[in-house]
Symmetry: C2
Subunit: 331 residues, 2 copies
DNA sequence: AAGAAGCTTGCTACCGGTAGCAAGCGCTGC
DNA sequence: GCAGCGCTTGCTACCGGTAGCAAGCTTCTT
């Protein structure tokens, strides 16, 4: 296989200069209809299309957006990625999916994204210490950063989040109305959990009802297994009379682990013995096997907002968008 | 924010030519220790790192691999993407995640990938007609194509798949041994289904036992809802006495839909009234809520193989790797 | 008919690297 | 003292586009 055709080759074939070839491919450029026809015919014959790499180098605009992800255990990432890629592609951008892990951490990934001259970086729900970015972000020429689905505590880095305050207010108000009085919270990975603020507002709104949240389970990460393990050890060490009557899990995948342990390992009834709530509304949360009461994040609004900020249509500042409480059988 | 520093600026600061700067960043280049020290110090001060875009243009090697995905409903994509990104990043490559949909089809995506000069394209379980690629692939300069997790019927385009023949042989042999005699198959989206060959081998191995597979349900796509709907209409129109006694679903997500319909909508027992099998072994398939008997694809071996082909360490030719039957409660 | 204005085209310079040639330099050997 | 060698360094040319100036040609105005 030979290489791609270049503008120069097309120019030779069409009997014009390479700049005229470029103009035929530049909308709004000054070129006669006649020249355009000849160039396009020659381009067609040679199978020519402009080289976007060269264009990017010259324009400082790659039309690539890096998306950082560090947790692939939560199935919720998938619909988000679907929407993100679809929306960005509709805007002529393309997603570079970066797996943040111990081998390839945030600093290295940011450096790499910078070297590749991406137009923007979206930190999609990744767990990092804000300090990590504080020095880096000031470095000249870095692509703009956006945080999606977690809070950003750094001045100047905008975040697009599901409004945790509204969400937890609705949730707690529903639970208090149903008569629950001994609430507990299950959190996932420490660093991210803080940035989600769900625990904070959960306790805050129970406080308004004169009830304090004393039980806090922590799962090691956001996975079914971690959720199951955390609740298992709680149930194993807490006598029935002292147990909470409702458990708010930081997301659905933790809630599923909790539900399975309640029902299968301990033979308890949900919601009679203990109610359970999640957060995300996964496809499988709606199934009769779980029928999980949960809170749906405004996925499309969130993605639209972050994409609009990336393209510059929307001012880059933190926005919190309200989601929707989905009432089902578990609470 | 000003722009990134360039080799020329570092050169001026270090009092050498820009080529010496480049050499300081090129492993194995001919440069004195003294020069390298001075260049690296200047680079450090100016926060210089080589521009990979410019390097890519000059070397015709972007270290980017496009991964095409057209079905985000199957949670199984996520662990695959995790492994793919991690392995490729370990090899110094980066993944461009392309969402194939009606707005952005295979042809457009391939053209775009070509224009961006990616080193390779991985078609990850996408449903396309082989004819679509037949003309394109011959076009000069196209990046090499690899098919992951589905078969390629095109000469010269290698595929990395879970060995369907071995898988279905094991499955059918297990089912026949358990005494099942009226097998049915549930397939997903037509085009992809053919390329998975699961239905084919399922019928083939039952044939060896003198049993033909007469019941074929087709789901509209690979989603819980589609699986539920397909089985629902089958059960609604088929009297109990005429029903199959075991249902092989093309993947776990379809099987989950089927299981929920069996138990919740029709009050049937699994596996007594009907056994169910899936394919993939999702995290949630292992939960007590489903406890689905399924077949696990050799995810890591498959990813290793395709990555090795991309990097050229492994000869690019179709390989089928055996997975593992996971026995649980539903069959 | 001459000058002004407008459109089209080709040109130089540049984006930030890479490849490989050739000159400069120090060192060795005779 | 000089040829010969090897290492280091700078150079030209190039990757395939973009930006914007200036020349050439029409067309319009007076």
């Amino acid at each position: 296989m030979s290489k791609r055709a270049t503008a120069r080759e097309v120019a030779a074939a069409a009997g014009v200069s390479k700049w005229t070839v470029i103009r035929a491919f530049t909308p709004g450029a000054s070129i006669t209809e006649e020249s355009r026809r000849r160039v396009l015919a020659a381009a067609e014959a040679l199978n020519y299309t402009p080289n976007l790499l060269a264009r990017s180098l010259a324009t400082n605009f790659t039309h690539q957006v890096a998306v950082f992800v560090d947790d692939f255990a939560n199935p919720q990432k998938l619909p988000f990625l679907e929407a993100l890629t679809a929306r960005l592609q509709a805007e002529g951008r393309v997603v570079m999916l970066i797996n943040i892990n111990t081998q390839f951490d945030h600093v290295r990934a940011l450096l790499n994204a910078d070297q590749r001259q991406v137009d923007a970086v979206i930190l999609f729900g990744t767990a990092f210490r804000d300090e990590t970015l504080r020095d880096r972000k000031l470095s000249k020429g870095m692509p703009p950063l956006f945080v999606l689905a977690r809070d950003s505590q750094i001045e100047g880095i905008p975040a697009v989040v599901c409004d945790a305050e509204v969400a937890l207010r609705d949730i707690v108000s529903h639970l208090a109305g149903k008569g629950y009085r001994r609430p507990g919270f299950m959190a996932g990975a420490q660093v991210l959990s803080t940035a989600l603020q769900r625990k904070h507002y959960f306790a805050h709104f129970w406080g308004r009802h004169g009830i304090s949240v004393n039980t806090e389970l922590s799962a090691h990460d956001y996975s079914w297994k971690a959720g199951a393990r955390a609740l298992h050890s709680y149930l194993a060490t807490t006598p029935p009379a002292e147990r909470i009557d409702v458990l708010m899990c930081e997301n659905d995948i933790l809630a599923m682990g909790a539900l399975d342990v309640l029902r299968s390992d301990f033979g308890l009834r949900v919601p009679e013995d203990m109610a359970v709530l999640g957060f995300d509304n996964l496809e499988l949360s709606a199934t009769p096997a779980y029928s999980l009461t949960t809170y749906e994040q405004p996925l499309h609004s969130m993605v639209d907002a972050v994409v609009a900020m990336v393209t510059g249509e929307l001012e880059a500042k933190t926005v919190a968008i309200a989601g929707q409480l989905i009432l089902r059988a578990t609470a």
